[in-house]
């Protein structure tokens, strides 16, 4: 594995020129980034130019303009999900066998792979033959107008455009699984995609600032915002290639094309009012009403207000300044409305591929959508209340921030997975009520402070809990994600959101011990799937230190996370394939402690203490892996997230060569990790499983590429 993943590098070069004067000001810039990835032949090149300018053609009137253009080229790998992941062989080849340097294709046919394991592509052959390249050109910018209507009253209009085109080419060489077989080479595909997106954002508002009395300050804003997005996509797939090494549409014997478009618009009207009294008491009130295209007609507008009050205690009662340098109390109430997915007004029929390519010989195939859309869909609403304090002591040497929040989200718009027996896969609907509450604490301490030596320590602490209060339509559970049936994340009434759901070990109700199957001595599975815990941590701490001694600076961050569970598919695979340390005892016969027993017509029959000696080889681990709980581990960890060190060069050195400042620095990320999980428990904290499914998949690892440890260094020069 170490041989496959190499060292990546990044080079950034930027040049910027800015000037200001009576005419206004402007800045122009040009930048270039060259990046190579940890996998051979992967990388990114980015070139961008920009212009930014502001003019005041006459008093009371300002115009601004900015324009950016970026050209981005990315070479990466078109990996597949789950069982056909191109890199599985990298993880699942025994450490004692090095694929590197060994031939990956037969001598007579470069497209006939030499496989280490049948049905898994040779990753070195993939590197040599397959590619994915995407090229994006993006233009974005905005126009800005401001006019002073009267004293304190301003009208502002800002309109922004963002437009990009991406061309994506993907080539799977003849002989790539699963598009075909490699012996003899067949299949392969060339995919050409074009994506185009334009966004328009227009914002007009009037703002008014005034002092009502010398002690009472008012700021008010009313405005309108329009957000409009249009996407268009076209894709051509040419498969079952005639010849190798020819990435062209003409190379395929089966050519299919498709295109799609979508659009969304949200128009909002808003107002905001701020009142401040003597830098002591602040009141904020706001309201916003949105109209959205992707809500059912007649139900598409929603209003959400907010209010906040903060009170500076040390201003009101100056005698408290003996105790506190500063003390503030605050309270907030806010409602936020949210939208769901695109296109809610109507489902219909689309071209279908039920395992058979249409159209064929003049026959077309159309099928109805598998998504159902609830006719009663309404916008989601989240109501939250927040209380907090900000306290500073000992001339700001110690500060303490505390926040408590409680938010109730009602009717989140969600594609609720339906039982397959409905003939639908999901229903877009408002999904019940969810309550979230938690605490956040931030402590800043400066234990040491003198001209030569300074030490700042920041400690952040967070702890929260989210539970499901109510689900729609008599449902007791909503499935959020499903990793190929091995583990699921669900929202279940009365349980933490999200919770793992799956199978677990069968326990003997009398002794509480695990029960082994009396026919083979392997663990018995509890036939009823259940809630197994949550990926959410109990709490998290970040310790951020920064130390300075004369011209030397050292900073480092340590993160500690306690609790939560993590599911690792790589652990499951490494067990069945005899690659993990746990499987080293596979040549010793063992009796697994516990009871033995079996199910007779769904009733558990215990037949005494387990005395069946077994070898923990593939069949044992295959049986263990049918138990979800067997691959769920405590996700607690301690990680040295970041270290950086810098040195400012003495002024005497750089003055001579015309510089105003110079420093050298070194940084490192992800330097060490202590955890009980099989792989890095932060590996998949993203929202999509690697193709296995979509949706919320926090806490599930499914053949991800590893996180990288990075080291960097550089020089900063100021002219």
């Amino acid at each position: 594995m170490d041989d496959f993943f190499g060292v990546g590098s990044t080079f950034n070069n930027n040049l910027e020129i800015a000037q200001g004067g009576s005419f206004g000001n402007y800045a122009i810039g040009i930048g270039r980034t060259d990046q190579t990835g940890v996998i051979d032949k992967t990388g990114l090149q980015r070139t961008n130019v920009k212009f930014n300018g502001m003019m005041t053609p006459f008093t009371k009137f300002k115009i601004g303009f900015s324009l950016n253009y970026a050209d981005i080229n990315v070479d990466d790998f078109p990996d597949e999900a789950g069982n056909v992941a191109f890199f599985r062989t990298v993880y699942e080849t025994p450490a004692s066998y090095n694929l590197k340097g060994k031939p990956f294709a037969t001598a007579t046919n470069p497209y006939q792979q030499i496989l280490f394991r049948a049905a898994q592509n040779n990753p070195y052959w993939i590197l040599e033959n397959n590619f994915r390249n995407s090229r994006t050109s993006r233009t974005y910018g905005n126009l800005f107008l401001e006019y002073q209507l009267a004293k304190g009253l301003k009208a502002t209009y800002r309109v922004g455009l963002d437009n990009f085109n991406t061309k994506l080419e993907r080539y799977d060489e003849l002989g790539t699984g699963p598009t075909g077989r490699t012996t003899p080479p067949s299949g392969g595909q060339f995919v050409l995609q074009n994506q185009q997106e334009s966004q328009l954002n227009s914002n007009f508002f009037l703002s008014y600032d005034t002092n009502i009395t010398p002690d009472l300050v008012l700021n008010a804003i009313v405005g309108n915002e329009l957000f409009d997005i249009r996407r268009a996509n076209s894709s051509t797939n040419s498969s079952n290639l005639v010849s190798g090494d020819w990435p062209s549409i003409a190379n395929g014997t089966t050519i299919t094309s498709s295109n799609s478009k979508n659009a969304q618009r949200v128009v909002g009207f808003y107002g905001n009012l701020n009142l401040g009294f003597k830098e002591m008491l602040y009141l904020n009130l706001s309201a916003r009403k949105d109209y959205a295209s992707n809500l059912p007609s007649g139900n598409r507008s929603f209003l959400y207000p907010s209010a906040g009050l903060s009170f500076v205690l040390t201003e009101a009662v100056p005698s408290l300044q003996n105790l506190f340098t500063f003390a503030k109390l605050r309270a907030n109430y806010a409602e936020v409305g949210q939208l769901g997915q695109l296109f809610v007004n109507g489902v219909g029929y689309s071209a279908a591929n039920p395992g058979y390519q249409f159209p064929l010989n003049g026959v077309a195939g159309f099928l109805p959508s598998s998504t159902s859309i609830s006719p009663t869909l309404r916008p989601e609403n989240t109501r939250s209340v927040e209380f907090g304090t900000e306290l500073r002591f000992l001339k700001n040497r110690i500060s303490f921030d505390y926040t408590y929040f409680r938010s109730l989200s009602d009717g989140q718009i969600f594609g609720i997975p339906l039982p397959p027996s409905t003939g639908f896969s999901s229903q877009v609907n408002n999904a019940g009520k969810m309550l979230s509450r938690g605490h956040e604490v931030m402590v800043r301490i400066t234990p040491l402070k003198n001209p030569n030596f300074n030490w700042d320590l920041n400690i952040n602490f967070s702890k929260y809990k989210t539970t499901i209060e109510e689900l729609p339509g008599g449902l007791s559970r909503i499935e959020l994600s499903n990793a190929s049936g091995a583990v699921r994340l669900v929202a279940e009434k009365g349980q933490v959101y999200p919770s793992f759901f799956g199978s677990t070990y069968q326990l003997d109700p009398a002794s509480g011990q695990r029960v082994m199957n009396s026919t083979n001595g392997f663990p018995l599975v509890n036939p009823v799937s259940q809630i197994l815990g949550t990926p959410n941590p109990d709490f998290e701490f970040n310790f951020i230190n920064s130390l300075r001694y004369k011209s030397f600076q050292l900073g480092f961050q340590i993160d500690w996370r306690k609790g939560g569970l993590f599911f690792s598919q790589l652990q499951a695979e490494s067990r069945t394939r005899g690659l993990s340390v746990e499987t080293l005892d596979r040549d010793q016969q063992k009796v697994i402690p516990g009871k033995k027993g079996r199910f007779v017509n769904s009733n558990l029959v215990i037949e005494g203490d387990n005395d069946i000696a077994i070898y923990k080889t593939n069949p044992y681990w295959a049986a263990v892996n049918t138990i979800t709980a067997a691959n769920l581990d405590d996700a607690s960890f301690v990680r040295l997230r970041e270290v950086n060190f810098s040195y400012d060069l003495p002024t005497t050195v750089f003055k001579k060569i015309g510089l105003s400042g110079a420093s050298v620095f070194l940084t490192g990320r992800n330097l060490f990790l202590i955890t009980k999980t099989f792989v890095d428990p932060e590996l998949n904290m993203t929202n999509t499983l690697s193709g296995a499914s979509t949706g919320n998949s926090v806490g599930i690892e499914w053949y991800q590429q590893p996180q990288t440890r990075s080291l960097g260094g550089g020089i900063r020069l100021k002219f």
Partner: protein, 477 residues
Amino acid sequence: MKKTLYFATILALVSTACSDSILNKIDTNPNIISDAPLNTLLPAAQMTTFQRVVSPVSILSGYTSEHTNFTGVNTATKLQVGGGGTIWNNGFLAIRYFNDVRDKADKLQRPGYSAIADIMSAYTLSLLVDVFGDIPYKEASREDIIQPNFDKAQDLYAEMQKLLDSGIQKCDQASAATSRPANDDLVFKGNMTLWKKTAWALKARLHNRLSNVSAQESANQAILAINNAFAPTENFTVSAYQSNPENANPIANNFMNAATIVIADGIVTAMKSFLEPNEEVIADPRANIWFTKIGNKVVTPPTSRGNTDVTLNGTLYSKPLYLQNRPSPLPLLTYPELKFIEAEAQLRLGDKTKAYDAYQTAVRSAMSQAAIFNAAATLTSTQIDSYLARPKVLMGADKLTLKDIINQKYIFLFIFQSQEAYNDVRRTGLISLNDPDGTAKRLPYPVDEISRNANAPQVSDQNTVYQDNARLFWAKL
């Protein structure tokens, strides 16, 4: 004044930007059409059943009937039977699509389409009921019920007969060419006579399935239905396949991509039961065109305990040759099966002569269909005749037993029809099997259904379906 005008213009622009009609226009999905014609729905619905239901049922049934064995990772059949999710999901999708076809056809008064929807629904439902037992149907495949109740398998047998009766009636009403499909019917190209015979053939199969429930009644009804069903050259077979993987026979295509299926002991034992004790299985002329050989021999793995072998022709174990041909037709219900059913029914009624007549026709026609999967594979009439001359094959009316009929039928069903062999295995208990884990009584309900439907039985994993209480109402095993 000027300022007021500016404001009025802005306000007018802003308010039209969020009017209901403009937002409706933006939200209209341009990627779909609100309605699709019947001649696009029917072929896609048919292929949903063939490609996404028949194919996985047939492949899994190969393992459970011990026609074949899986030799990918985890070769135990017990670890494979949990993989019925595709069958379940697509089965209910297909039924929903056929309901849609029926509704539209009835509205447009096109009984030919409606008849096919009935017959295909009954066929799809039978695949689901026979592998899962009790399943939702009356409340299933409907948008308004999100947690359907489960129906008893026994009640669904009555439901299937009703659907077939209704289909038969509608076939007779579809005399006008406009009332029925043409090339968009991917099975019979709109030939309603063949659809009607298919309905009768399905009725015969489903009646005979109840041999343990009511011996006489099931036999009488099956014979009655067979009399209305296929002539010797007629079959319910899908022939719309091509050599490209996208339009291939799904079972062959699965094998060409993964090649995880090998010959199991079950088929070899059944073939050998008609040979002499000293003969190898290769003495059955079918073995030669059906199995690959390892060093001139047919080699099978220890059932459910083999090693991995995913090569096309097999390095450890013999592979089924019929799976190497993507354009191969996919038989679903054929004339020889009806003759086997007739032989069985007559035997049950005590008429040995009629039973033997039907058995002879069945074996002969089965032999003649043994090479349909590939133009390159042939059995000569000499080979067929010499097989039929064997004393254990055609043993005479007095010696014919149910076991002979079921064994010959089990051999015949090896080509793409393991689902029906798995039904016979459980219904009769007469096939010699040797999986050390035993035989799955049915497939477990997919966790997708259990976890999302509070009305589903919550207890289900692959172990539970090996227990006696998981047995189907028509089964012995």
